[in-house]
Amino acid sequence: MSMLKDAIISALGADAKFRDDYQRPTSVAFCTVPKDKFTEAAKAMKKSYAFLAAEWATEETPWFGIFACYRWREEYLIVKTITTMDDPAFPSITKKYLPAYRFERQIHSLMGIMPVGHPDLRPWIKFEDWPEDAYPLRKNFDSSKPLPYIKGDYEWIKADGEGVYEIPVGPVHAGIIEPGHFRFQAVGEMVINLEERLGYVHKGIEKRFESLSWKDGVKLAARVSGDTTVAHSIAYSMAVESMTHCVVPERAYWLRALFLERERIANHLGDLGAICNDAAFAFMLYQLSYLKEIMLRTNYRLFGHRFIMDRVMPGGATVDMDEQGKKEISAELDRIAADFERLVVIYDESSSLEDRVRDTGRLAPEQARQLCAVGITARASGINVDCRLFNPFPPYDRLEINVPVLISGDVHARVWVRVEEIRESIRIIRFILENIPEGNISAPINKPAPDTAGFSAVEGWRGEIIYWLQAGPNGEINRCMVRDPSSVNWIGLEQAIQGNIVPDFPLCNKSFNQSYSGHDL
């Protein structure tokens, strides 16, 4: 019984052609529709309360494929349509789904396909000094050559009126963070609009995947966003495994879950410290970053890398855990949990901190819903989403995961979701330590068959990560679509900051803490 599939069938009838011999896993529905029905499919999905999870394009000579991936609870459904190469265009779904706004600008900029009816076709990722006809994701584009520079302009959104002024910030920010450009329109202290300009760290990752072997791809996936290295490696690996029918040993899954939860705790600890620090409470930063450091050191001792990078690969994991390791982790968790709980009480009792975080940077539940937000951002704004709950791999399918959902959508809510998630992750790790099954930690893996596709969704610490892989006619990587949670959540920050005061921006930004690298790819 698939709700989304039924909705498509009842709206489009025989126009929607479902296939289950093309894309894996088959639990993710896949259909093709005629181009003029693409928006109708979006309409049907919207009516079923589905979220738009991703939208992307591929080149499958002699045509381009356009894909939209929808999600509703545990269901995913992918709608594909095609367009010819001499008139590359498709109907935009931005008016139905807000997140399509940037996905489609990106498709237009990097693949050169026109989203007809899109309200804003300014290039995205592609800067004004790129040649206009440079479409890196097209097959005939030579990605090894540097691009020539041209003269161009970017049209910023302007605001007029008495006392309105503009503050440009970045790309190089004050501090040790990634680059991006923000432009505020403000009146007095109050922000009336924020426009983000991202793409500074675009490294051509999706294109680079196409020149790699399936095996080497995981190394690149691990570096899409360094702070999420484990989750990205798992997501890539699972997509490859789904295409090759690889049976991953239980123990490997459990180890992956262990790494994933350790990554979640470490990042949440760091974020909580940084958020408090931006509210001028440096004590928390030093305490929490100490706890984070303890975790990273355990990682280094037991798994050989502080961020457990390159320890997950298609087929399983590359490092195991012995009895001594279990003991060490267990002792480490006792220690961290005790300190952490004391710090939470301090956070909770600090009224000056409360003053800064409550009602600041509010993303209302309706807004989050419209933006199809994911991860922490979504859960702080009343949306119950978590792949560990809806699309679990072992041991998540055996655990009753508690997903914290708050509705206030402010900085405090994003703090509190993290607090609860740390507690839950500690519980999960303890469960893993006690119950992890014996056995191999990896299985051999075959090459994917030509003309097939694979899909995966994994809950990284920021939120849902999606990989969609496609094998070309010779079984090589034809396309690797990566959807980091940041790709959707960045717009949330633009929305949340309106009506706040300029000095609260760092605090709001930190509470979202989106990846630039994962977004810019």
Binding site: S143, L147, V172, E178, K203, D227, M309, S515
Partner: protein, 173 residues
Amino acid sequence: MIRILRQIFRTGVITEDVLTPEDEHIEIVGDRLEEAVKKLFRGSLTIRQVDAGSCNGCELEIHALNNSIYNCERYGIHFTASPRFADMLLVTGPVSRNMEIALKRTYEATPTPKLVVAVGNCGCNGGVFGESYASLGGIDKVIPVDAYIKGCPPTPTALLNGILKAIEGKTKP
């Protein structure tokens, strides 16, 4: 307040001597670093970090230099928000094409003599991202580099070691 004080006392002083676990011969870097900073920079080495296209992994470790275990301030090393006060640029990432201009401008805004340290495998030679339409490769493809710190990402200890070598002027690619 009382809880905060209690927690501070419970934690105590956790700052550690910096050893080099990666090296076979263990040496204490800290003292040498402090001395070099004192001698060459009058006790204060100011660093501006620039992410020229990294995956943000290197940033995590540079951040860690400021935590209370590595506590780089004790050697007189601090991070500044403006390149105009900086003695050293610590640059990560392969230089993305979209960051090229910003990196050059930051370099120009830094007063001479300026030390440039390329951080991470990507900063050294482009790493997994290599050279392409979007990635120009290592930092030295765009601005002159004085020292290189390898690693993906380099550990905080490796970073301190690298910074020391850079100010002692000893590293070669």
